[in-house]
Every structure is written in structure tokens, then in C-alpha cells.
């Protein structure tokens, strides 16, 4: 398969040569990762007592991170699936990033569950004694199904690019990389028949990916929703989680677009139009997300069930600033920035995305922690530090390690595959020529 030389060179900036900046960045994040590993060793050695989790708050940062990363993954799948399925014209430079968000977050997320489990040696019990009635079993099945589906979908989208890199004579890479492209491209040559088979498979998988993302993230929401805990027992938790996930994923997509554009000088490919389009998407989702949030808290407040009232009081007292940031500033500010054309600059849209992303993480925090701090049955002789959660450096270090792995995996992928799909961009060129 052939492609324009400039296109290949521009979209594969790290495949041939590794810049000094790349090494510096990679090893910095590797350092953060090492700190997380040290924290994990401490936790395994001394037990969960080194974390802030106690008798009441048995889920802390780890579950918050798990939900957050899984949300990013599902939103990546949803965004890339929808963009592909509806052949959105401007999708091409951003679709690969959405696909990578899906896979990388899906790899990182479940590790936070492992950090949370006290008896990891009994993890296999989930597989040898599964109970279909348990939402945890649904989640295990769902995540594994999603992981396989996302890998297939990602691979389908990479085949054409691998074939292009295999056939590109000017590519100066080690022989193992050439061999890798040859194996991974499956001998794809771009004949009409092959293109048709691939297009069919991609369309079907994009439909599947959308459906799975919605179901799987709903399953995660039901883990909370099916319990009778104050704040969690909600019928709208499934769609609420899905909308929140897309909100955070869209925010992350904008941030990644900004980083890649800046670092690899992709101004020609990722333009203001892409930022505005994804930004408008962010605003629309923010409106839906705000509506769901309001609806959820309104019904709880109006119901005046004792424990729900205590929880809402807690949110508006102990968690006041976090609550306001997550559910007011995090929704309204991005909307204002993007809604007014005057504010719609690339840096502004990126700032809005950063606010949305952090707000979503905080939202997860105030969903998990205050509820666990509001138990139905108070335990006897409880000290305040057993009731109130505050994360330790170990939880912070593992959170940082999770973010670092996300960055490092993105960097490693950029060493092997194009960061923007060459085949998709080529198609765009063809279309433009035809026009």
C-alpha cells in the first residue's frame, strides 16, 4: 500500500528516531511509576493499614480511579465508534486518539481493583465460584468482553497503517520493526475485496463497541445502584455514569489533541475546527450531564429519606467546595467557554477540557467517599479517623503511577504506530481531490 511521503513522515514522528525530549518525558513518568511500585510494595508488605481505607470507608482512591479510567475507556470507545459509524468528516485526525484512550484506560483501570483487594490470592475464586446474580461477576465478564472487543476494533483500524509502513521504502527502522509491520498487516494490500472485508468488519465492530461501552459502564454503575446505600441506590445511575464517562473522555480527547498538536507540530492536521467540534460535543454532553446530576440529587433531596438527607447535608458542608467544583464549576465553566464564539480559542477549549476532566474525577470521589462515610449502622467506639477518609501517600503514589502508565503507553504506541491514522487521512486527501 502506498501513501504520501509527507503524510507518513508527519504522522510517525517517533517511529524512526527517538528524540531527547521523548526520553526525558518517558523516564520522568517511569520515575513516578517506580514510586507507585514502591508504594505498592509497602502496601503488600504492611497490608491495607497503610492506606486511608478503614472499617467504614472500604473503597477509597483506588475505586475512584477505577471508575475514572473505565469511564475514559468507554467514552473513547463510544466516541470513536460513533465517529466511525456516522462517517463524520472531521473525525480522521482524532479517531485514533479516541481508540487509544479506550485500550490504554481499559488496561490500567482494573489494576486499581487489584490494589483494593485485601486477599489477592483469592482472586481466582471469581472465576471458579462465579455467581451470575452478583454485579461483580457481571463486571468481570463485561470488562473481559470489552477488552477483547476493543483490541479487535483497534487492530482493525491499524491494519491499513501497518501495511502502509510495511510498504514504505523510505522508512528507516530496525529489521524487527519491519518484520512486525509485515506480520501485523496480515499481508493486506488494499485490494477492493480486502478493503470491503475490512470496512464491513470495522463497521460491525464499531456498532458492537458502542453497545458494549454503554452496557459495560452501566454494569459498573449498577454495582453501586443495586445496593441500598444512600446516594447510590438510584435508577438513573446507569445512564448517568455513561454520560459522565463521555464527558470525561471528550475532555481527555481535547487535552490529547492539544498535546500531540503541540509536541509533534500537527497544526496542519489538527486544526481549530477539530477543537471547536469536539468542544461543542463537550458542551452538549456537559448539559446532559448537568441535567442528570440535578435530577439525581433533586429526587434524593425531595424524597427526604433520613440517610439521603444526612448525605446531602454532608455534601453541602464537609464536601462543599468539592461538590461545588464538581457539579457547578466543572459543568458551567466549560459550557460558558465553548458556548461563546469569542472565547472559542484552542487554549481556552483545552482549559475547559482540563476543568471538565478534573471535575469528573472529583465527582467520582464525592459519589464514593461521602456515602461510605454515612453508614446505616454506626460501628461501636469509632474514632473519627475510622469514619473519615483521607488518602495516604501510597494511594497518591499509585494514582500518579496510573496516570504515568497512561502517558508511557501512549508514548510507546507512538514508537510503533502512527498517532493519526495515515489511511484515514489519505482517504480524506482522495476525497478532497475528488471534490
Amino acid at each position: 500500500m502506498q501513501a504520501d511521503n509527507k503524510l507518513i513522515k508527519d504522522l510517525t514522528p517517533e517511529i524512526e528516531n527517538t528524540s531527547f525530549k521523548w526520553y526525558i518525558t518517558f523516564f520522568t513518568f517511569l520515575g513516578f511509576f517506580a514510586l507507585g511500585i514502591y508504594g505498592l510494595i509497602q502496601q503488600i508488605d504492611k497490608g491495607h493499614i497503610v492506606t486511608g481505607m478503614r472499617d467504614n470507608v472500604v473503597w477509597g482512591f483506588y475505586i475512584v480511579n477505577f471508575i475514572f479510567f473505565m469511564g475514559l475507556s468507554y467514552s473513547g470507545a463510544l466516541i470513536s465508534g460513533v465517529l466511525h459509524l456516522f462517517h463524520t468528516g472531521w473525525r480522521k485526525p482524532v479517531i485514533r486518539m479516541a481508540e487509544l484512550i479506550t485500550i490504554i484506560s481499559l488496561i490500567i483501570g482494573p489494576f486499581f481493583i487489584f490494589f483494593c483487594i485485601g486477599r489477592l490470592d483469592r482472586l481466582y475464586f471469581l472465576f471458579i465460584h462465579p455467581r451470575i446474580q452478583s454485579p461483580i461477576t457481571w463486571d468481570v465478564i463485561a470488562i473481559m468482553t470489552d477488552l477483547v472487543g476493543c483490541f479487535i476494533y483497534l487492530y482493525l483500524s491499524f491494519i491499513e497503517d501497518f501495511a502502509i509502513l510495511r510498504d514504505y521504502k523510505g522508512l528507516k527502522v530496525p529489521p524487527w520493526k519491519k518484520k512486525l509491520y509485515k506480520v501485523l498487516s496480515l499481508g493486506f494490500t488494499g485490494t477492493e475485496k480486502e478493503l470491503k472485508i475490512l470496512a464491513n468488519a470495522r463497521t460491525i465492530m464499531s456498532v458492537m463497541i458502542i453497545a458494549i461501552a454503554i452496557i459495560v459502564y452501566s454494569v459498573l454503575a449498577w454495582i453501586f445502584g443495586v445496593t441500598l446505600q444512600p446516594g447510590w441506590h438510584s435508577t438513573i445511575f446507569g445512564p448517568y455514569f455513561v454520560i459522565a464517562a463521555v464527558f470525561s473522555g471528550t475532555g481527555l480527547l481535547i487535552i490529547l489533541m492539544w498535546i500531540f498538536r503541540k509536541v509533534y507540530h500537527l497544526e496542519e492536521y489538527i486544526t481549530k475546527r477539530h477543537f471547536v467540534n469536539v468542544g461543542v460535543l463537550l458542551t452538549v454532553i456537559a448539559a446532559f450531564y448537568g441535567y442528570f446530576t440535578f435530577s439525581d440529587y433533586l429526587t434524593k433531596w425531595y424524597g427526604s429519606i433520613k440517610m439521603d438527607s444526612i448525605l446531602i447535608d454532608k455534601l453541602f458542608s464537609d464536601y462543599y467546595s468539592l461538590f461545588i467544583f464538581a457539579n457547578y464549576i466543572g459543568i458551567i465553566l466549560p459550557c460558558i467557554i465553548i458556548a461563546f464564539p469569542r472565547f472559542r480559542t484552542i487554549p481556552n477549549i483545552t482549559v475547559a477540557a482540563v476543568i471538565a476532566l478534573i471535575a469528573l474525577w472529583v465527582n467520582r470521589y464525592i459519589i464514593v467517599i461521602p456515602t461510605l462515610e454515612t453508614p446505616f449502622l454506626p460501628i461501636q467506639d469509632t474514632r473519627p479517623d475510622w469514619i473519615n477518609y483521607s488518602p495516604t501517600w501510597i494511594e497518591w503514589s499509585l494514582t500518579l503511577a496510573g496516570v504515568s502508565v497512561f502517558v508511557m503507553l501512549f508514548m510507546l504506541v507512538s514508537k510503533i504506530a502512527p498517532i493519526i491514522s495515515i489511511s484515514e487521512m489519505q482517504e480524506q486527501d482522495k476525497n478532497e481531490i475528488l471534490k
Binding site: I132, L198, M208
Partner: protein, 295 residues
């Protein structure tokens, strides 16, 4: 400059001295908290219970394996016996029925409990004074109204002295704790009564265990009477047997069908995608062979 260096050395040395001084300090002895309680149960057995605890980080922790001595009569200090505290820091001593204990003029017995202390824990002791009291509880149903009548008195110098003005509490054991049904304040004759509610669930036969108590009473300690009565509503707590529910080994059928259909649908599409990849590979191989043949 020289002055600065000297000052720094002096400061560091001082810090070292303070730190070593802190280290060399002996560990402070634990100050225990000792509590003595008196119980007279439904069979008129009398028990002394001592609890030995200490406070660490605002938490009350038990002192297990400690020897506790029990004495009667504060002045003479007659040793009744000793015991070792259990995991909860508690030790019980049952008073023999025929035990003769000297009483004060107002009929009070005085009991002492002593922990001698050891290398790490300070000694501790406490005493209580209680009056032996008789609690008579009768259960009647005049005009179908279930009524509990309580009479209580002490024998002082062979004379019955009513426990006037003292509170008696009626309890029912429920799933997690005791449910208080009511409180009777005894009149000048040491008597009182309470109408028992008729809508409380009992077991299958309607049995309920009624507990009547002087609780942590300043004069009598803890004295109780229990009686199993058919005063509750017969209630069958067993759930209808079901083979497929959330809590059974086998899942409900709808759940298995839904999961099977979903998984078959999804994995079926995965299979289609994988077959597509295989078709691409086969097609490419065929083309390669054709090209090679052409050459």
C-alpha cells in the same frame, strides 16, 4: 561566618541531645480503668464482674490475662477468690449461695476488686456497695389485658423494706439488641405494673422472652427475672423456599437467558471480525502466490 558555623553545630548537637533524651525516657506505665458490677440473675445466682481496660488513642482496649482478686466487706477485706481476665478484659466470680457476708446497718454489702499491677501496668482497685433485693414478677391477663406486675423488697434485720421509687425496666430480646417495652417506677409498697402490648411478634408459637430488670441500679446493681410467655403474635420467619433467587446457588432463569443472549450476540460479532481478518490473510496469501506464479 565562623559564628554561624558554631551556632549551627550547637543547634544540631542540641537537637541530638533532645532526641536521645526522648529515646532514653522510660516507657510510661499504663493506667488501667477497673470496673466492678454486681449481677443477680433469674435463678437468684449472684455474680461479681470485673472489667479491666485502658485507653489508647481515645480507644478503650481490654487488658487480658490479668489476675483479679475479689473481696467482701470493705473493712475486713475477706478474700472471696481470684480470676483471670478474658479477651474482653472481663472476669466473673460467682458468689456461693451459702456465703455469709456482713452487712452494714442499712443492709448494704460491700465488695472490692483489686488488680495488683505489674511492671507495665499500674495497680487498680474499686469497690461497690449493693443491697440484696428480691424481685417478684407476676404475669396476669385480667380482662384479656396482658399485665406485668412487679414487687420488690429487701430484707433488713428480718424485715421487708420495699424498694420504693426505684425504676424497673421491661425488655424483649429482638434480633440485634433488647427492645425496651416500658419502665415501671415502684410505689411506696415497692410494687408497680405495666400493660404489655399485644401486637409484638413472637416465634412460631407466639413465645417471647420477657426480661424484667433493675439495671445499673445505685442500690441493687443488676437484678433480673426472665420468663418465656405465649404473649407474642405467632410469626413464621421462614422464607418460602425458592430454587432460583438472588441468594440461591442457581441464578434466576431470566438472568441466565439475558446473559447468554447478550454474550452470544457480542462474541458472535467478534467471531465475525476475526473471520474477516483470517479472510484478509488468506486473500493476501493467495495474491502473493499468484504474483509469485506470474513471475
Amino acid at each position: 561566618m565562623k559564628k554561624n558555623i558554631s551556632f549551627t553545630i550547637l543547634l544540631i548537637s542540641s537537637l541530638f541531645l533532645i532526641a536521645s533524651d526522648l529515646y532514653s525516657q522510660d516507657k510510661a506505665l499504663i493506667s488501667p480503668y477497673i470496673q466492678l458490677q454486681y449481677f443477680k440473675n433469674t435463678d437468684d445466682n449472684r455474680v461479681l464482674k470485673t472489667t479491666l481496660t485502658y485507653s489508647l488513642n481515645r480507644m478503650e482496649l481490654p487488658l487480658a490475662g490479668m489476675e483479679i482478686a475479689f473481696y467482701s466487706d470493705g473493712e475486713n477485706n475477706d478474700l472471696l477468690g481470684t480470676g483471670i481476665t478474658d479477651d474482653k478484659g472481663a472476669v466473673k466470680f460467682e458468689l456461693a449461695d451459702d456465703l455469709k457476708i456482713a452487712t452494714s446497718n442499712d443492709g448494704m454489702w460491700t465488695f472490692n476488686t483489686v488488680f495488683k499491677g505489674n511492671d507495665t501496668i499500674e495497680a487498680a482497685s474499686t469497690e461497690i456497695a449493693v443491697k440484696d433485693v428480691t424481685l417478684v414478677v407476676t404475669y396476669t391477663e385480667p380482662d384479656s389485658i396482658k399485665t406485668i406486675t412487679v414487687k420488690s423488697y429487701s430484707l433488713i434485720a428480718g424485715k421487708e423494706v420495699p424498694a420504693a421509687g426505684e425504676p424497673v425496666i421491661i425488655y424483649l430480646p429482638r434480633m440485634f439488641s433488647l427492645l425496651q417495652i416500658g419502665e415501671i417506677t415502684l410505689d411506696d409498697n415497692g410494687t408497680g405494673s405495666l400493660e404489655f402490648p399485644g401486637d409484638l411478634p413472637g416465634d412460631k408459637e407466639g413465645n417471647i422472652n420477657v426480661i424484667t430488670r433493675f439495671e445499673e441500679n445505685a442500690n441493687f446493681g443488676n437484678v433480673e427475672k426472665q420468663k418465656l410467655l405465649k404473649w407474642g403474635l405467632p410469626t413464621d420467619y421462614s422464607l418460602p423456599t425458592t430454587h432460583r433467587a438472588l441468594w440461591t446457588k442457581t441464578a434466576p432463569k431470566w438472568m441466565i437467558y439475558t446473559l447468554s443472549v447478550l454474550l452470544t450476540g457480542v462474541w458472535g460479532h467478534y467471531l465475525f471480525a476475526i473471520i474477516s481478518l483470517i479472510r484478509i490473510r488468506i486473500n493476501a496469501k493467495r495474491k502473493e502466490e499468484e504474483d509469485n506464479y506470474g513471475k
